[in-house]
Symmetry: C2
């Protein structure tokens, strides 16, 4: 199952809510590329679990969260300055 590349951006004023979301995103092995943006590769199954958890736990009036799956075509068009775009780890490689 190929992984998906996702971008998560969030704007959360409450510190504890924000820290809890950060923990969730780190738990799913995404990379914090700037204060309020995570990038990374995630399996479809894990992505669905993560999205479900985010909707369950973070539906709150002053919480803004954006979850964007970035396909291979869009990934190729990414342009950046000094941005460390995570590389997919070849975990499944059996030698």
């Amino acid at each position: 199952m190929p992984s998906k590349f996702v971008l998560i951006a969030y704007d959360i004023t409450d510190n504890s809510l924000r820290n809890r979301l950060v923990d969730v995103l780190f738990y799913f092995n995404l990379q914090r590329v700037q204060y309020s943006v995570f990038l990374g590769y995630i399996s479809e199954t894990h992505l669905n679990h993560m999205v479900e958890q985010i909707y369950d736990d973070f539906e709150h009036e002053d919480v803004k969260i954006l979850i964007v799956e970035i396909c291979k075509g869009c990934f190729k068009n990414i342009r950046s300055i000094n941005y460390d775009i995570p590389k997919e780890e070849r975990k499944h490689l059996v030698v």
Copy 2:
């Protein structure tokens, strides 16, 4: 020419540099959806001009900028909480 939907995220410590980028992004009619993220529709020509200007004016060691073009397929998969995803204005509609 169909517009492109783009996401720009940035992490810039210097206030004047950050404000100058914000001005550029507003100039190209993008919408500031959170402190360091803009979203919006832009023609291919304007996108190329904007990217060129960003590379010319913001190539700086403590500037991080990410520019993601989001295709129709990825746009449909966007999930969000309380996020105001800009709608495309039908400017070209002649009635």
